[in-house]
């Protein structure tokens, strides 16, 4: 198995690769003393990053343009046309946040707010099963002395650690998001809050548009505060709409103006020929870049057509 496909953060992957380990077999064939000798730095680095963990998307290229994965303490808005993979990415993140600390993850839980009814349990189970297999494979290849944990996680455990809220109106949405502060203070292991999608219930007619703007801004502020207060990642999925700008129709995120100041990062998912791509549309620290990804039976993964898997940082 390639190091590039491991369910660990891209920054850790990058460090392993810079130290010369591109496949797990190259790691496993070494004795601990080999690793400790000249390449001590690689091993230390693996266990060093306690503070700056990001949540992997399971796609190395996507992680790379995100600076390693989805970041805590920030609100990331991700938009795209129907069918591009928003819900798929949401489920993947809800699973990946649970990757144990000793395997490079956050070992956290997820809150998933489903506003459209796109969340299908069998798909979440499918993604969870693939994730467990990846974790077990990675763990098995580690030398015994370096195995800090048994992968005792079962796919059902991963599902159980997703706190799922199905909401059917904008009032329910406001209520749940207001309630989250109380909920998360009682469940401090939540490390990601996903809202899929954030605008659906606001796109119908509001007699009072000023009210709608106030509600959306208020909601955005609450989400930003959650991220900062509890040091978790907030990912909000958005739909796209067409806007007539500068003489032609262009794609724009729905109701985006209402909270552009509250989102730290904005990512657009789009089709480029037959491939799915992600583009960093706005970010204070990330370069504008795009990366291909694919949606497979196992979840979000690297694009099959991209042979140059790891982009060195």
């Amino acid at each position: 198995m390639e190091v590039g496909r491991l369910p660990i953060s891209a920054s850790q992957r990058g460090k392993l690769i810079r130290a010369g380990y591109t496949t797990l077999s190259s790691l496993s064939s070494l004795s601990p003393s080999d690793l400790a000798r000249g390449a001590q730095t690689a091993w230390d680095m693996l266990h060093e990053e306690q503070l700056l963990r990001r949540i992997t998307t399971s796609c190395a290229d996507l992680d790379n343009i995100l600076g390693g994965g989805i970041n805590c303490k920030e609100v990331t808005e991700i938009g795209g046309v129907p069918g591009i993979g928003k819900t798929q990415l949401g489920i993947q993140l809800a699973v990946n946040v649970q990757i144990p600390v000793d395997l490079g993850g956050l070992g956290g839980k997820a809150v998933y707010i489903d506003t459209e009814g796109s969340f299908m349990v069998e798909r979440a189970l499918q993604i969870a099963e693939a994730s467990v297999l990846d974790m077990v494979e990675y763990n098995d290849l580690l030398r015994k002395e370096h195995r800090k944990c048994q992968v005792n996680l079962k796919p059902n455990d991963l599902l159980e650690s997703i706190y799922y809220f199905r909401i059917c109106s904008y009032t329910e949405q406001m209520a749940v998001i207001s309630y989250l502060d109380k909920f998360i203070s009682a469940h401090k292991d939540v490390k990601i809050v996903i809202v899929d999608s954030v605008t659906f219930h606001f796109r119908q007619d509001f007699e009072d548009l000023a009210l709608r703007t106030r509600l959306l801004s208020g909601m955005a502020l609450k989400l930003m505060n959650l991220a900062k207060t509890y040091n978790l990642a907030v990912v909000i999925f958005n739909q796209v709409t067409t806007k007539y700008m500068e003489g032609s129709f262009q794609l724009a995120l729905a109701l985006g103006d209402s909270w552009s100041h509250s989102c730290t990062n904005r990512v657009i998912l789009y089709w480029n020929g037959d491939d799915r791509y992600a583009f960093i549309d706005k970010s204070p620290s990330l370069r504008s870049a795009s990366a291909p990804f694919s949606v497979t039976g196992k979840g979000i993964r690297n694009s099959a057509s991209n042979h140059k898997r790891i982009k060195l940082m």
């Binding site: 129907p82 009814g117 069998e122 979440a124 159980e160 199905r166 059917c168 796209v240 709409t241 067409t242």
Partner: protein, 299 residues
């Protein structure tokens, strides 16, 4: 104020309950059938089989879960007139024969047909629909809602101005929001049919915007796009496309002079494609429409 608490995903039926379409090949393409608690859209041009699928679904829903059904009746909201009663009866006869259903049970009794003339009327009637769903029936509660077709509700009363398009868009989200709320409360499978429009060339418009697994949609040998645009596409959970294209088959007559005396045969080839669905990979299968119903073809 009611206590807000998250749902335990392990308590949800695994996999999500689905309603068979009455054909194993079609079911396989769709991961078991039409999912409950979800809105599935069937996009196709006229005479492609949309209504056939819906009628067949309304019958199959009455099968017991052991045979892929929901032991449920269906609410069929039709917006084009007249309702195809004759075809329903034809399918019903074949359905009864196939499942050895005797004369004392008439499946048509469990298909509730209601005419809808406009989007506003549909919205106004949501409350009635809600109480209809919550009626405690001793057998066959309503667990399938069909809207055939949604496009017809929006065709005439909206102009092509930005203002009207925005107003129309808002209605999409209102209707879809209310339907999804019903769907979640009563664990209902909703199927909505939609028409196609011709692709007129991408002159600054978003008509050609790719949505889903197929880059281009072809039917009757021309490029088409689902009606009602990007806004409506955001309102459904799954989108299926039915295509029909004529195939010309040249059959050689085996004589020494090739090209002389060959017969040309025209054949309609129909396919159902999954354009997007949260639980399905890209897939498609050929199907045929016969007197007995719609059947997938394993080719």
């Amino acid at each position: 104020m009611a206590l807000i608490s998250p749902e335990n995903l392990l308590r949800r039926p695994q996999p999500t309950q689905k309603c068979t379409l009455g054909c194993p090949v079609l079911d396989r393409c769709l991961g078991g059938g039409i999912p409950c608690n979800s809105m599935t859209e069937l996009v196709a041009e006229s005479a492609s089989g949309k209504t056939q699928f819906c009628l067949q679904l309304a019958l199959s829903a009455q099968l017991p879960p052991s045979r892929g059904g929901l032991s449920a009746s269906s609410l069929y909201l039709h917006t084009e007139f007249p309702f195809p009663f004759r075809r329903l009866h034809q399918l019903r006869r074949a359905f009864c024969d196939r499942h050895s259903i005797g004369r004392e049970f008439d499946p048509s009794d469990n298909v509730f047909v209601h005419a809808v003339h406009s989007a506003d009327q549909l919205l106004d009637e949501m409350r009635k629909i809600e109480s209809f769903l919550s009626e405690r029936k001793p057998r066959f509660p309503v667990r399938v809602i069909v809207i055939d077709s949604i496009a017809a509700l929006f065709r005439s009363e909206f102009d092509n101005t930005p203002f009207d398009l925005k107003r129309r868009s808002s209605l999409f989200f209102k209707i879809s929001g209310k339907l999804k709320s019903l769907v979640d409360r009563f664990n209902v499978a909703v199927v909505v049919t939609n028409q196609v429009v011709d692709f007129m060339g991408d002159n600054g418009g978003m008509n050609g915007l790719r949505i889903g697994n197929l880059k281009y949609l072809y039917s009757s040998e021309r490029r088409v796009c689902p009606a009602l645009g990007l806004a409506w596409a955001n309102c459904v959970n799954s989108r299926l496309f039915l295509s029909r294209n004529e195939e010309v088959i040249r059959e050689e007559n085996g004589s020494a002079n090739a090209g002389n005396g060959d017969t040309l045969r025209r054949q309609t080839r129909r396919r159902i494609h999954v354009l997007f669905a949260p639980h399905l990979p890209e897939s498609s299968t050929e199907f045929v429409i016969r007197r007995e119903g719609v059947f997938g073809v394993d080719r």
